[in-house]
Symmetry: C2
């Protein structure tokens, strides 16, 4: 795409909140020249003296990018990264030392990691952003922080005691989604407006789809929603990946109705091509065409890496107007406790988020910024016992290593997904022992007719860390005696009992609105990510055994204890609360 024909990003300032419009612009650059006067005695900056930082070096033993094998056993080799007290270089993007990393810095981010990520984003992650000049980035303290800043920027608080209903703003989201995002919106008095989903993610058309919601907006609820929160890869909890075709449909609707799109994609590199294949093999057809081996950047610039080219691209790749704000994080690629990520959007939006950052988080911790900078772009020492500190054998991740690490991670999670889903796929049915207990008669393969009931269904997760399992409560023998909600609660408790001993996340904790609440009890989310690889199959077998034994129950005795109900309700209230993680 040539620069000459690129469109300018839209002016989005009519979407900004009162406080965010009101922040003063910064033009400090003209002052920097005074800092640069040779031998100037600086009485102006109120900084602590760096000799009083108690750390002389910061070090880590760090995996090689090749540790995680896409198909074989992981290796355990490690290198050392060392961050010294001070490095003498005028190039701030190469100056990784404690004197700068632990001092006050710039809100955009620590220059070495900021400049690396800016290049990664513009040249490799999103090489085909259509608008003039391309996107900018700013570091965040992870995606929850990033989303809270986007919400601060784009929404005004609505207080029913002092504001008119016409002033009430709203946020669009998938009907089942990451509840911490919803908990960011709701205290501000905003409408949470759910859009129906299928196995891919948000629906553009059809009943409850985006068009339906926007076109038939009931203005008695407030303003038509102008902000969207969406998880498009390995959607949490449904595990769907949004196809490029669907993205184009949804983007066009957002253009038509002037909606800002916040794309939260912590699982972006965890896309599982084998899920399409396996699903097809088991079921004759996948829910979607298999994109395996497809190069998404075939028509535009390549990312430079076959792995990245094979991944479904971000909304940014079709964002002609600059209405996409993308959230990326190191939580799933390095570690959640990093609390480090970045926000990508058109420059004017990043400028506003910079103003917000300056008076809130200021900058992510220099400890994590410098350690990750040194891990990815610094020089590293091969670990050979304690003497490594003195032997300066240089290696490094660099861009190649970073992409290799992402690919390795994908492999590890993809194997767990396959192990879990194979067991789930092969055990959906309960084959009844006597004809009178069965409720459905159907064909299995082609070679036999037996009595069976389907206990659950699921779509193979095409990305992420979870499978989303629909409980077929209508096939349970006790369905005439108890409500589906009662059965669902009893089932959750049943699973926690011996010999099943399974803890699953109930659908309630992802239900973003009243429409989702109507069917929330029909779902559970099962995570394969946190399990040791050798546990996935046996644990999943325990889970399906829990299904079977529940379907064989003739009563719900011992499954309705108040404590347990309270526990489930507290899970519902508290996904992401107190224990701040994805959905738990």
């Amino acid at each position: 795409m040539s620069a000459v024909t690129s469109p300018q990003p839209l002016d989005l300032s009519h979407h900004y909140s009162y406080a965010s419009k009101n922040r003063n612009p910064s033009s400090v650059k003209s002052f920097y020249k005074y800092f640069a006067i040779p031998n100037i005695a600086n009485f102006a900056g109120g900084l602590p003296h760096p000799s009083y930082f108690p750390y002389d070096t910061l070090e880590a033993t760090v995996a090689r990018p090749q540790r995680l094998q896409p198909s074989n056993k992981d290796d355990t080799k490690a290198d050392r990264v060392v961050i010294p007290k001070e490095v003498q270089t005028p190039d701030l993007t190469r100056k990784i030392d404690l004197t700068t990393a632990l001092q006050y810095g710039t809100a955009e981010g620590y220059p070495p990691i900021f400049s690396f990520l800016r290049q990664f984003v513009r040249d490799h992650l999103h090489p085909n952003v259509p608008y003039e000049g391309g996107p900018e980035i700013i570091m965040s303290c992870g995606n929850t922080d990033g989303f809270s800043k986007a919400v601060e920027l784009f929404t005004n608080i609505w207080n029913p005691d002092r504001d008119w209903i016409q002033q009430r703003e709203g946020v669009l989201c998938e009907e089942f989604t990451y509840m911490t995002a919803i908990q960011t919106i709701q205290p501000r008095g905003l409408n949470t407006v759910t859009v129906a989903v299928d196995g891919q993610g948000m629906l553009a058309y059809g009943k409850g789809g985006l068009k339906d919601v926007l076109e038939n907006w009931d203005f008695r609820r407030g303003r038509r929603p102008h902000l969207m929160y969406t998880v498009t890869i390995g959607q949490n909890p449904t595990g769907g990946n949004l196809s490029i075709e669907r993205r184009k449909e949804i983007y066009a609707l957002c253009q038509k109705y002037d909606v800002i799109m916040v794309e939260d994609d912590p699982y972006w590199n965890l896309q599982f091509p084998s899920a399409y294949e396996k699903e097809s093999r088991y079921r004759g057809a996948s829910t979607e065409p298999t994109p395996y081996n497809r190069s998404y950047n075939a028509e535009g610039k390549s990312s430079g890496y076959a792995f990245l080219d094979s991944l479904l691209p971000s909304y940014l790749s079709i964002d002609t107007e600059g209405r996409v704000v993308r959230l990326d994080t190191f939580s799933k690629t390095i570690a959640p406790g990093s609390r480090l990520g970045w926000i990508t959007a058109q420059p004017a939006v990043i400028e506003r988020i910079t103003r917000i950052t300056e008076v809130t988080t200021q900058q992510p911790s220099g400890f994590v910024q410098s350690i990750i900078a040194q891990t990815i772009i610094g020089e590293q020492l091969k670990e050979k016992g304690a003497l490594a500190l003195m032997k300066q054998e240089v290696s490094s991740w660099r861009m190649d290593g970073w992409v290799r690490w992402l690919e390795g991670l994908r492999g590890g999670y993809e194997r767990r997904m396959n192990d879990m889903c194979s067991v789930l796929e092969e055990n959906k049915y309960l084959f009844s022992e006597s004809p009178e207990k069965s409720s459905t008669v159907d064909h299995v393969n082609d070679w036999e007719v037996v009595d069976r009931v389907q206990m659950y269904d699921f779509v193979w997760p095409k990305g992420g860390m979870f499978a989303w399992v629909e409980i077929r409560l209508e096939t349970h023998p006790l369905r005439t005696k108890y409500s589906e909600r009662k059965l669902s609660k009893a089932f959750w408790i049943h699973l926690t009992k011996k010999p099943h001993l399974c803890l699953v996340a109930p659908g309630q904790i992802f239900a973003a609105g009243p429409k989702s609440a109507e069917k929330e009890h029909r779902y559970i989310r099962v995570a394969f990510a946190p399990m040791d690889p050798e546990d996935v199959s046996p644990f999943t077998r325990r889970l399906v055994e829990g299904f079977r034994s529940f379907w064989k129950r003739e009563n719900l005795d011992g499954l309705d204890d108040d404590d347990e109900t309270l526990a489930m309700q507290s899970m519902q209230l508290n996904s992401g609360i107190n224990f701040v993680g994805p959905g738990c």
Copy 2:
């Protein structure tokens, strides 16, 4: 103080903002028991697998607490801290490892550092908080983050286009203060309400004092302010320490007018008893009674440390009603880039801030939380070259070492303060070469009458990192030809020129309101903290030489370049902006 007679903290919920009232309470504890079921297969939590965190160990070479000598040369000995991949212990407050530190955690903070600080705060820092049960804490990402959460909790945004003026809230602060705090308030449409200060800090009584401001509040501006932002030790920029007597007066006014007090004390341990002594020695009398060698906790519980007992106590020590929210940070005691601190307040306030934290920063970075936890409370290895890694000689900071480190820091900054202020003290006057150029005739000491003009004045900073210098513009020979503002700008530029080469922070960047703006040009803030110790005296001599040569100027040629004016204006706009530090 016995528990029986302690008052209950007040219910402050009438101060909460709309969004903060609206956050759902958390009661997740009842769910924890499911996690504790032996051998439970956890499909519920959506956490990454810890083997995919690329760090096997995290290490640092760390100063011993005795490194900084209150009076002698610092030593350079260092120990190693090592954070291993995994530690097996059921005690979460002792489990410092990467498997927990880099995983999702709790919003309150990483258990080892949280529990250490909670004990430090309750038993040592503030052993005499009067209300029942004492205060609670939560970790923050530094005091700017902490203040932004307090502002989110206690204020509602006011938008002139949709709200009544009666709804406009306001925040009280010192007339000159840390501008990032003001920049947190102003975009929300709040009134910034300045209170006059003297050498100690905020005035309770007299013109422009707190009583005057609150009693004579003009309701046409909005609600009477119900929130105060105050820096009470080493106030930024004035360097004052607020006495216990003044605190009692101000607290009583805040009780009367129902004001919440946010005490931001990053410089708390940097209190300089010698400043009172030196000031008295030079001037015959200090501006305040010398508190040197006083034990502030003599009437209550001791902190257990003579050093801590000798420090002016927090507002918390007189907070019978629970209306004080205190912000502490590791920025000045470990390093600014840590972005780690904590908030102390009555439990109900901490509970609300926990709800805010869960949907914004979630938790500070596990890298910094674990490194600081291991530094202070973990086992450490003495550094003896690279072999140290294998020799498990255990040492540690612990509570004693932590307090010793704080005392050492105080010593280092106190020496710099003394070096700077001695030079300032001894060079305030310009002794005129011929009688016709002098504007004032006065007595020096007692032994001689000479012609002299006082170029500047200052109060010795009793704490912190800065001296606040008043420029006596009225004594300048050119005062009849140019306005004071013009002279002040020219002086700032003059200082940056050879041979002076001094960069000082102009008063404008700390002027919080229109009353402060009237006199802002009469002040500069000079920081001694960032300088190497051997530079402080010679740099300060260059500064006073700059004063002298400016007072000898017969014109302002070359000092009114637009660029320079722009630079000063951008400093004014941008203290704390872009380059996020204290006032620069």
